[in-house]
Amino acid sequence: MRSAEKTYKELQELANVIRADVIKNLVAAGSGHSAGPLGMADVFTAMYFAILNHNPAKPNWPGRDRLVLSNGHICPVLYATLARAGYLPIKEGLTLRKLGSRLQGHPHRVALPGLETTSGPLGSGLSQACGMALAARMDDMKIRVYALTSDGEHDAGNTWEAVMFAGKNKLHNLTCIIDRNNIQIDGYTEDIMPLEPLREKYESFNWHVLEIDGHNIEEVVDACNQAKAVYEKPTCIIAHTIPGKGVDFMEYKYEWHGKPPNPEEARIALHELRTLNGRIKSEHE
């Protein structure tokens, strides 16, 4: 459901607003992850403003599509997107990681409307999405389930148990989006535990695989729509992203995986996000 029929240009701008929200909230929190949330801002914008069938006024509506965030540590972008979609006040983002906040350091389902799962420990989100997709099919519910996963969590055996399970059960109502940003806490994914050939791995597990530029919202939307037309297999969308996207000193740097900017770095980051607006758009026009 394209909310208010925003143009792709408007959605790309909204993604940058969400990036700025992420930076502000991380600075207020004083801890948390920077690179992943910035890298996934475009995918999240696409999901909540162009792809998901959902209703922020009725977060528990049974007919909604389900989005399962598996790598819970990038929740600052989930919270900021949910806020911009109307699930919570935007200024509540500043309570991130604080005592009593609904915005826990890793998502806690029952704390905040709009969260589908509790997550953080890596490798289990795709399993939960599989369970949702299978249960929906048992009840002939015409919903779609999206699992957002990181590349790093493909080190985990649990992830591959789920990949195998979805292939076996031909869960065509399931789409797994992988944030292929090539970094994890200890370094580059191909140094820590090589994942390539990732596409071929998924294909050999009986998945339909698409590869896209994860910063091009139109590509994200097109890929998710294509997945709807695949009836015999689950679909995996490998979204190639740049960790820290939009903030020059963070881009591509695994050092920014697990820390927030300090106030001075945040000032520079917010300035860049504003002035780079034009450049980011021009890449996709």
Partner: protein, 333 residues
């Protein structure tokens, strides 16, 4: 005095024998008939966990997971999120052994109602040996907030516990055993999650037990009554939430407690009972269980003997605790 509702032929040679896992299998089929939301998931152990009758009767609501216990727990969480009531089964060493973190995160913290059935618990698994004898699973599950832990004493209680688990709020761990064991209770025996049952009245010492080894406690009590000792025997099949009131009452009445379980003596029923006693009414206590070591291959009988879980071992523990009780109360007067 034995409770009237117990199996009438309890101490006869012809006492009915059935594995507790059979009660789970029967309960699961009954739930399948009455509750369309019940689904069963199993990790390649469908026959031996007694999930098979459900799978045959309700193939559309059975999910074969293969040897993937982490996925077993997390997929069930996703199904619960969609309104299903999943019962997941494997051997207790694998589930909740291997998938403890998925149970913690995706079921407990995530607040999804799933029933975890751990089969082949305890040393009595027999020849499969140490790797397959779950002796730590009560400790693992008891430490999780929101989790209920039940170790039924016989197949009838196992069936009642399975049915009750569907109605009771929150995630539940049901612990079952492989071997045929004596039917202690009857269809009329009361069962309520969280309630201990006094199976035998007595005033000298209380034995609190869970699982089929409860039978050994009853035998020990019968034997000792012949020499004038009146042993109270309590079935504490629900280890969590623990029945504070019944334990405190037993301690006040008999002033000595022995616990019996087919589990490590650390972290299980014995630990749970001692936690209650130290805070509310400390009395001399003795724990019978596996003494901080792993099992090995052997017949179930040989192993129960070797690891000290027979009636004679319980009698030794009772005599020990009574000595301490006598000393303690003698010094007080």
């Amino acid at each position: 005095m034995l409770a009237k509702h117990l199996n009438k032929s309890l101490f006869s040679k012809e006492v009915a024998m059935e594995p507790t896992r059979d009660g789970y299998g029967r309960g699961l089929v009954k739930l399948g008939q009455t509750n369309p939301n019940v689904v069963a998931l199993c990790a390649d152990l469908t026959e031996s966990t007694r999930t098979q009758p459900f799978a045959q009767k309700f193939p559309d609501r059975f999910v074969e997971m293969g040897v993937a216990e982490q996925n077993l727990a997390a997929v069930s969480s996703g199904m619960a999120a969609m309104g299903k009531l999943p019962f997941i089964s494997s051997y207790a060493t694998f589930s909740p052994g291997r998938n403890w973190e998925q149970i913690r995160t995706t079921i407990c913290i995530n607040q999804q109602k799933v029933v975890i059935a751990g089969a082949h618990a305890g040393i009595s698994v027999g020849p499969d040996g140490a790797t397959h004898q779950a002796l730590e699973d009560i400790a693992l599950m008891r430490s999780l907030p929101t989790m209920t832990v039940i170790n039924p004493c016989d197949s009838l209680e196992a069936e009642k516990a399975t049915l009750a688990a569907a109605e009771y709020p929150g995630p539940i761990y049901l612990r079952f055993h492989r071997e045929k064991t004596a039917t202690i209770t009857s269809k009329n025996s009361p069962f309520e999650i969280g309630k201990a049952q006094v199976l035998r009245e007595g005033s000298d010492v209380s034995v609190i037990a869970c699982g089929p080894v409860l039978y050994e406690a009853l035998i020990a009590a019968e034997d000792l009554s012949k020499v004038g000792l009146e042993v109270q025997v309590i079935n504490l099949s629900t280890i969590k939430p623990i029945d504070l009131e019944s334990i405190i009452k037993a301690a006040q009445k008999t002033k000595a407690i022995v616990t019996v379980e087919e589990h490590q003596i650390t972290g299980g029923l014995g630990s749970a009972v001692s936690e209650v006693l130290v805070e509310h009414f400390p009395v001399p206590m003795q724990r019978v269980g596996v003494a901080d070591r792993f099992g090995e291959s052997g017949t179930p009988e040989e192993l129960l003997e070797k690891f000290g879980l027979k009636a004679k071992h319980i009698k030794v523990a009772i005599k020990e605790v009574l000595k301490r009780k006598t000393l303690l109360y003698a010094s007080e007067t």
